[in-house]
Amino acid sequence: MNIRSRGDKLFDIVNYTCLTLFALACLFPFFYVAAFSVTPYNEYLANPLKLIPNKLEFSAYTQIFKMDQLWTGYRNTIIITVLGVCINIFLMIITAYPLSKRDLKGRSFALVLITFTMFFNGGLIPNFYLIKSLDMYNTLWSLVLPNALGAYNLLLMKNFIGNIPPSLEESASIDGANELRILFRIIVPLSKPAIATFVIFHAVTQWNTFFNAIIYTSKRDLWPLMLIVRDMVVDSGGVAKDVMDAGTSGVTEFTIKMAIIIFSTLPIILVYPFMQKYFMKGILVGSIKG
């Protein structure tokens, strides 16, 4: 009895310590980036591991607010996020509902057609050619439509709707409501938690758009935020350096880069506390068993 509880205690200590360390490791890089973005550079050089600077300096932010490209990137990203989420959610709902009807003829064929896209795709060049042929190259549509509907999330949504008790629908159909009315009056309100989850997922995906943008856009004024961030923060020859060379302030390239990272990630960090409550909601549980 005693031996077991001692083993238990040891297990707890090791378990809590390891997980806490991992959680801290997940947070610390972001804390540091935030700290570095407001630390005077010479203070940083003197003591790089210090998390709280003696003197706060916000000149990196005033500097980046003057960068037009960053604002254009922001605008483009907001457009593709809002538009992308609306189209994605609408398409997903109207497609998932008929697919959830077990007796619908042609359903299994449609499901095979959709599922297969999870395991095989044409690849980069054929997709590029498609976008060119549709005249979507160098338009914001190319950052919205190619991933407007994904098989995996669609199937999750289908499972979710399929789990809604049929009795709720039947009473409405006895009253003579057609499927369109049933979908928007009954199914959609009942699917709110699932819809909220997918809104979050797709909004994050769209906010982080990078791959499609690097392939489907070549004009800088169409670049979404992440392409601008790569140019300024990852590439050393990026714009941050140009600003430095113009040299009006004493802010260094490093501090500017840190500020850009915070500025471009801020929306996600800000909404994150509100979205986390949806993560564990039934939706993912139903998926793996289905």
């Binding site: 083993g7 540091y32 008929p98 790569r230 986390q276 068993k289």
Partner: protein, 306 residues
């Protein structure tokens, strides 16, 4: 006879017209954005020319493949892709399972929730941002790590230009970014285990580690296998964004993988047929891995993905 069956199906269609109407845009979407590019893989077998289009470009059979298999670059890229994938698989696949197992053992639910919330966060941050942080934190001139090393009297190391550091960095950063999130699905599977199994094990005097080993792990085995099969289907994908942002001319020897290679030759180099060939090759290998692993799972009397 024919007429009556026509009539019958017409009546069926009419009865279900709204459902089919709703289904139509989605199906068209998949046909256009997924199946048209699948048809487009025939670019790999043609001497593709943009002006002529797919149809009018000349067939050249397996010429592109013969060319690809003759390139020494191809074998480097192949090796890099597989090496990195298997390294990621070996470390990145079990880690989320362990996380889920240990998260589940946290008895303080509030503490557990806070931990979960924190470890899911990096998943939502773009690779571009994570790459930006890494590149700058590891920079030999102003990176935190090198400044710290300098204070200890160690010469700065240009981590991202050093071939020895590239793969560990990629594996570590992807474990750091995604394993928290990937643990969700296992945690969901663990939560749905019948609690009577634990009670029975408790009566039998099983310790916590024994319960983990004899109850929890066997109960989530099918989840683990399904995710492993899906992962093997993506064995040729290393994640374009991550590799691309950490890539530079100095580490290209180990960092060039199929996805970045196809981009470089196909999009940047404008060699569409060859780019499509590389893409088709990786898709087919991925599909083979998926089918083979599913077959093996079935053979071992496990649930496959279908």
């Amino acid at each position: 006879m024919f007429a009556t069956s026509m009539k019958k199906s017409f009546r069926y269609l009419n009865k279900k017209k709204y459902l089919y109407l709703l289904l139509m845009p989605g199906i068209i979407y998949f046909l256009v954005f997924n199946y048209v590019p699948m048809y487009g893989v025939i670019i790999a077998f043609k001497d593709f020319n943009f002006a002529k289009g797919i149809w009018n470009s000349a067939w050249i059979g397996f010429e592109n493949f013969r060319y690809m298999f003759g390139l020494s670059d191809f074998y480097t890229v192949f090796w890099n892709s597989l090496y990195l994938s298997f390294l990621k698989l070996a470390i990145g696949f079990p880690f989320p399972i362990l996380l889920a197992l240990f998260l589940n053992e946290m008895r303080n639910r509030t503490y557990q929730k806070i931990t979960q919330t924190i470890i899911y966060l990096p998943h939502f941050i773009s690779w571009v941002v994570i790459g930006g942080i890494l590149v700058n934190f590891l920079s030999p001139s102003w990176g935190v790590l090198n400044l710290f090393l300098k204070q200890l009297g160690i010469e700065p190391i240009f981590f991202l230009a050093d071939n020895d550091y590239f793969r560990p960095l990629v594996v570590l950063s992807s474990v750091w970014k995604d394993s928290g999130w990937e643990s969700i699905i296992y945690l969901a599977a663990i939560v749905s285990i019948n609690s009577e199994l634990y009670e029975a094990a408790g009566i039998d005097g099983a310790s916590r580690l024994q319960r983990l080993w004899y109850v929890t792990i066997p109960s989530i085995k099918s989840t683990i296998i399904i995710l492993l099969i899906l992962r093997l289907g993506h064995i040729m994908n290393n994640g374009f964004e991550q590799i691309f942002v950490l890539q530079n001319p100095m580490n290209l020897g180990v960092s060039e993988v199929f996805e970045t290679y196809a981009y470089r030759v196909g999009i940047l180099g404008g060699r569409f047929s060859f780019g499509a060939t590389v893409g088709l090759f990786t898709s087919v290998i991925g599909l083979i891995f998926l089918l083979a692993s599913n077959r093996i799972a079935k053979f071992m009397k496990e649930d496959g993905i279908w």
